[in-house]
Each structure stands twice: as C-alpha cells, then as structure tokens.
C-alpha cells in the first residue's frame, strides 16, 4: 500500500473571539481580545472573575431542525463540539447528511471518521443541586430518599449529558460518520493527539475523511474551583480582564478560563484533489510524549513537549532549520510558560528564539482541550495566508521565555509550521503542517 497523504480541507472554530474560521482569523489579525468579566454565572466569591466566554451561544443554530430537541441533553462542551463540526464541514465544501439544504451527501458514511477530544465534563451544579436538595434530612444528604425518589428529579438521560464520548457521538449521528470514532481525553493536549491519531485512520485506509480536534468548556463552578486550586488562574486583574492573560510576557500572572473548540477536516490527499477541494495544508508530522514527573500536579510541566516536537519533526522528515513558524500554547501561567519555552528550545535549539511564533491565549483564555483544536486550525490558516497573527498582551518576554512573539501581524514565508500543546497530568502532542504546493 502506498502511504496515503493527509490534507486539511476544512476548519471549524468556536472561540470567545467569534464563530467560524474567518471571524476568528480576522479577530486574531486585528489583535482583538475576548477575555471579559464572567457573566455566564455570578462570579461571586470566586477569586478569578474573568474568562473567555461564548455569549449568546447555543448549538441549536448549528444542528438540523430534527435534531434541535437533542440539544437539551448536551453539556456545553458537547454543544461547542457540535457547532464546530457544522462549521468545519461547511468550510470543507463536503456535504454530509447533517448540512441542511446543501444537497445530497458527498461523503461515504462508512469512510467518514470522527475523533473529538474532550475534557472532564462538569455536571451543572444547579441542575444536580435541585435534585439533591429534595433528599436532605437534618441538613445532610439522605441516600434512602435519594434512591426512592430524589434521583427521579434528574432527567432520564442525565448521564449522557456528561459522557466525554458524546462530543464525538453527537457529531457522528448528525453527520452520519460511521467510520472509526474515538474520544481522546488528554486534557489540553487532546486536539493534537486526536488529529495525529486520525491521520493514521486515513493513512491505513480505514477512512477517507476524518473530522478531528477537540472542544471544552470549564467555565463553570467546578472548573473555577479546580483551576483555582491548581493555582493556574490570574486573580489580580479582575478589573482589567482583556489584558490579564499574558502568555510568555514578563508580566504573566496566571490564566483565565476560556471556552471553545476547533475541528479539522482531514482528507485523503487524492480524494481532496479529485474533488478540487481547497487544501489549507498537508499534515506531515505528528509526535507525542509525556512527562513522568507530572504526577505532581502542582509542579508546572509542559508534558515533555520538546520530545513531542522532536518526534513530530522526525516523522515529517524535517529538522529545526525547516520550521518557519510556531503556534505555541502559552497558558500565561508563569511556570508553564517557562516549561513550554524550554521545550521549544529543546526541540529547535537556538532557532526557537527566532522563528516567528504566536499564542492566542491572551485573547481567548485557556480553552483546555478546545485550545489545541483551535491551535491546529490557526496553524493551517497561518500557512494558507502566509501570515502570523499577533500575540496579544505580549510586550516583552519573561526571562526564560525568549521566543519570537510579536504584538503585530507579520507576513512570513511559511513552508512548515509546527504546533504543540501539553496538559496538567503531563501529556503532550505536536503536529507539523506543510504548505501544499499547487
């Protein structure tokens, strides 16, 4: 079997900066900033009161009419995934059964795979609280009442709102994707890992098209609690949210929770060319790694991203001298920025200081799993446009974070672009995208 090549032919993104790759790209180019005071819930006594929110967002606008009822059983993470999938397919020019009014599907369902990375989906506290508070005796939770009657206050499909594979499952059902379907749950690295794995579905001829990436929202009580306890959130800039998250900047002081997702349409290169598809990029390299010291979750880690990047370059058959641009993660958490910058240096040597790089976390907040999906979409767009957008809130580098971030939009001749991410828990993933010669 000749090795099949993987084209990126569609991009879908939902971020606090907008919906759809064109909107988000325009916002990134213009250096717009999307972190604001949290209004989705009353931030009350939470020490961090800012986030990158999706306002007026519902998946109802992104699903076929006959599927709108199902939105009720989607956690927010699922809603994001479903919306992003719709945008990605629309961008690709492929027609699935999920795109209403576009005509007959042009994708063979059996050859369409799906791999949407996800995080731990948090139960909605107010929904669960309503039920739990029916089962209280003497101020304490009463198991006997709960078992007899309390639990029936939860909708029968309650569990299905929170299973992480439901991001993929809803997408497969809406779009008729009957090929391989997976759900990577490696925190913020999920998107890179999902895309890297999905390329193998195409290379081994198990699918012709795969929709892959990740989506997540931790903008909720438990997310604010857990990230706060991990000391990752910025708590000193509630009065200046737009400038609060400062990846790699000397004044970086923690991150803010953003919500969003990104999915790519990966397609066998021959299929893409035969249908005359717009090819943003070729996915030519993938690498993954992990940091065995990351069991200590308070010790900042980049998940041995340096090794993941080296593995990705090796699988692409290129060296550091071939890398023209970087889409970094950059949470804005000081220890993590340092670890990430060190990882890029480990992989690229001195070149890590000069290769034009971008991080958009300052504009969106940390979108966790979703971030890695968006990074990949942005990397593909950078290649297609030969532009590296600005890194907002970056003025001068923190010591140890000397990389080539810039406050302005740059025209850059890009043949290869590298993007990578890592997560609390210590996994990392990286991908190499290559300009597709006409």
């Amino acid at each position: 079997m000749a090795d099949r090549r993987v084209a990126i032919t569609g991009l879908g993104v939902v971020t606090p900066l907008g919906m759809g790759i064109e909107d988000v790209w325009a916002a990134l180019r213009d250096g717009r900033r999307g972190v604001s005071e949290i209004s989705l819930l009353d931030p009350g006594h939470f020490p961090c009161k800012i986030g990158g929110q999706l306002l007026d967002f519902s998946a109802r606008n992104f699903v076929p009419k006959n599927y709108r009822k199902a939105v009720k059983v989607m956690a927010r993470d699922i809603e994001i995934a479903v919306a992003v999938a719709d945008l990605a397919f629309l961008d690709s020019g492929l027609i699935t059964r999920g795109l209403e009014g576009k005509g007959e599907p042009t994708v063979d369902s059996k050859r369409l795979g799906c791999n949407v990375g996800a995080g731990l989906i948090c139960t909605e506290l107010n929904e669960l609280g309503t039920a739990v508070n029916t089962s209280v005796t003497d101020g304490k939770f009463d198991f006997k009442t709960w078992g007899k009657s309390g639990m029936s206050n939860l909708t029968p499909l309650w569990l299905l709102k929170y299973l992480p594979n439901m991001l993929s499952c809803h997408v497969t059902i809406i779009h008729g994707a009957e090929g391989p379907s997976n759900c990577i749950t490696c925190g913020d690295a999920s998107g890179h890992l999902a895309v890297g794995e999905s390329a193998l579905y195409i290379r081994r001829d198990a699918a012709d098209v795969v929709i892959a990436g990740a989506a997540e929202s931790k903008l909720n009580h438990m997310g604010l609690l857990r990230q706060g306890k991990l000391r990752r959130l910025c708590t000193t800039r509630n009065d200046q949210p737009a400038g609060a998250v400062r990846p790699f900047d000397a004044d970086h002081a923690g991150t803010a929770i953003g919500e969003g997702g990104g999915l790519l349409i990966l397609e066998d290169m021959d299929c893409a060319k035969n249908r005359g598809a717009r090819v943003y990029a070729e996915l030519v390299g993938f690498g993954a790694a992990c940091d065995p010291l990351a069991i200590d979750v308070l010790r900042p880690t980049a998940g041995h991203l340096g090794l993941a990047v080296r593995n990705a370059l090796a699988s692409a058959g290129i060296g550091p001298e071939d890398v023209d641009a970087i889409v970094a993660y950059g949470t804005g958490v000081p220890g993590e920025d340092l670890a990430e910058a060190a990882a890029w240096r480990e992989a690229l040597g001195e070149k890590a200081r000069s290769i034009p790089a971008v991080s958009f976390t300052g504009a969106t907040g940390t979108m966790f799993a979703g971030a890695s999906g968006v990074q990949l979409a942005v990397a593909a767009k950078c290649l297609a446009e030969q532009i590296v957008p600005p890194t907002v809130n970056f003025d001068k580098p923190a010591e140890g974070c000397e990389m080539n971030f810039a406050a302005e939009t740059r025209k850059v001749k890009i043949r290869h672009i590298v993007t990578g991410s890592y997560t609390v828990g210590g996994q990392s993933g990286a991908c190499v995208l290559k300009l597709c010669e006409k």
Binding site: G147, S152, S168, C169, I184, H221, C290, I295, G425
Partner: protein
Amino acid sequence: MNKRRVVITGMGSVNPLAHSAEETWAALLRGDLAPSPIELFDASTFPTTFAAQVKNFDFAARVPSAEKHVHAGRHCQFALAAAVEAWNQSALGAYADLDHQRLGVYLGSGEGSIDFENFVSLLIEAWDGRQVDTNVWPDLAFERMDLYREVEQESNMVLAHLAAEFNVQGPAFNVLTACAASTQAIGEAVMQLRHGFVDTVITGGAHSMIHPFGLTGFNRLTALSVRNDDIPTSSRPFDLTRDGFVIGEGASILILETREQAEARGAKILAEIIGYGASADAFRITDQDPEGDGAATSMRAALADADVQPEQIDYISAHGTGTKQNDQVETRAMKAVFGEYAPKVPISSVKSMLGHLIAATGATELITCVLALRDQILPPTANLHTPDPDCDLDYVPNQPRKADVNICMSNSFGFGGQNNTIILTAGK
C-alpha cells in the same frame, strides 16, 4: 507498507472476581459470580442495590511504590496494581535496552470517583433555594475540597501515575469511549506500534462508576439489572430473562511490544494481535442501530485488517452486556458477518460472571481470550438457562468447553455507538 507485528508479553487485572489475571481465569472457569449488595454506600433504596465490586484489595501489598501514589483514586489504584503485575510478567524491568522515549501508554481509563461527601454537602449548604449561591459555595469549596481528589478525576491522570511508575516518556493517550474504551485503547496502541511511533506500550483500561451518581445515572437510563431478589445470577447475557447489565469496576493492563523486540530480548509471547476494527453506529445516543450495522462494520474491519476469513474465527468474546437490546443487536450483527458459520462459532460473555467493568471491560475480556488460546478452553456464559429466540447462537452456556482455539475475536460496543473489535492468535 510492511506491518510491524504486535505481541502481548504481559497481563494484569484487578476485578470483582480476582486480583490477578491468572486467578480471574480460574474463577471464570469455576463459574464464580461477582455481583453482591453494594457496600461502598447505602444503595438500599436505589432501583438497583447491587454491583460487581472489587473487594479486599490491598493496594500497598500489590504496588511496592504505593507511597509514590498517595493521591491515586480507586480506579487508579486498580490500574497500578494491574500494571505492576503485567510489567513483572513481561520482564521489561530486566531489559536494559528499553528505550523509555519509545515506551508509550495508551489507556481507556474512566474519570476518577467524585469526592461525594464534600460535593453533596456543599450543594446543600450553599443552596439558596433555587441555585448554588456563589457568594457561599466558592469559600466552602476552596476550604474543603481537596486539590488532588478534584484533579485526579480528570481521566488522563491514570496515565500520569503509570508514567511515573514505569518512567514512560513516549506517547501517552487516554480515550474514553464509554464501554468500548479499553478495546479501543488496545487497538489504537497496536496502530501506534505498527506505525513505528513506539516499540512498547502499556495499555488497557480502568474504571469505577460504583458511586452514588454513577449508579443514579445508569438507573435513570434503566440500563441496569434490578434483580435485587437474585443478585448472584443477575447478569444474564443472551438469556430471555435478562433485564440489564450489572455495573462493575476494575482495571486490566497489557504490555504490547513489537514482535521483533520481544523475540530479540527473549520475552515470552502470550499472544499476537493481528486485527483491529472500529466504527460508529451514527444512529442515536440512546439506542444501538437495531440492525447491528455498526457492530458488523467493526467486526468486518477487524477481519480485513487481520486478513482472516470469518470461518477462521474459533471463538468470540462478546460484548454481551445482558441488556435486552445489546444482546439481540449483537447477535444480529454476528449473523450478518458470519453468515452460515454464525451458529458454529462459540461465543461467550464473561460479563455474566464479572459484571460490566465499563471502560475496563474490553481489556479484561481480551485477557480471557489470551488465556483461552493458551489453555484451549472457552469460558462460559453463566446464568444462561432460558433461551431467547432472538439470541439463537452458541453462547457456551454455563460450562467451560474444551476447544481448538487458534484465532479469537473480542468485541466492545460503547454507549453512544462507538464499536471496536480486536482479533488475536496465540502468536506461536
């Protein structure tokens, strides 16, 4: 492309029947039944009052470096114990040339158990009658909720523990495709090996949903058996009287490596994985495709990948959950794939004895396939006394059976429609 061949050189398991792979096998051949009344919390008024629980598990005795894993939750402890067992069997510890940067981990591990007591007491104390009062809840939560118990709920944390235990530096993946997760993890781990990203992978799954909200979730879906009056025989795959699955917990870990490496280092090869298939029903989140088309696609993909004909399959380890729908659909799917040969291929569901270990179930069942290949004996489907006209294949009812077993197929189907199939041989 010349395929790199992938073999199994180590196995370990902690599950409701036993705390090692070998003891599990003995229990299955004896016909032990795991379901018992829930002891982990008061489930006496729940629609389902029982589960298949891991009991008398001694973490410190099983994992010499237990103190390194003080924050490991229940399913993570199971995973570590199973991994130590598998690692020891593989003898990788004595392999001086092991490249830790080409050692990966690929799990189908579930989310960690919730800190139930603190979680609900906060929901009660900070309730303003309509919603959680965020002028109260954060203060209580930051004070009482433990960082580690919270973070360890992320399903990628078991990876972190295994990476720390075995100095894994290569690719690390976790997937959570519900009941198919660990079969999918093993299958994709095989692909990582074949594509040359790694030489050795620690793979499998771990899960425990036997907590109040896990039981609540499945009870609300009416997916569980409610046979509270006959708990030991409550798991009845393919039997007419089946009324749902029995929730279980546990972990099973396998060591996979390239055949080349295993042979070069003189490792004992337990089995070879020759085929993997995956598919999605793309039907409904609540139901399987009634025709079993998705399940059949997965089996066909695995057969094609293994380059074997349906007639060459000597045994199928079924998903066989004991829900009305699954067993009927699965039977239909097997008939579609195996045609005239379907009634001749022995099939069993060890969930009849073990219960359903959710994300950990596929890895556990794959281990039983490896042991069936070794001992040339098939584990039975227990509690199968009343035939269902819709389930009319050979399910090896109630008694283990001697058989010539050269090639096995193991199936797992996840809630939401993700299907996975693995095919393996003794690898001689």
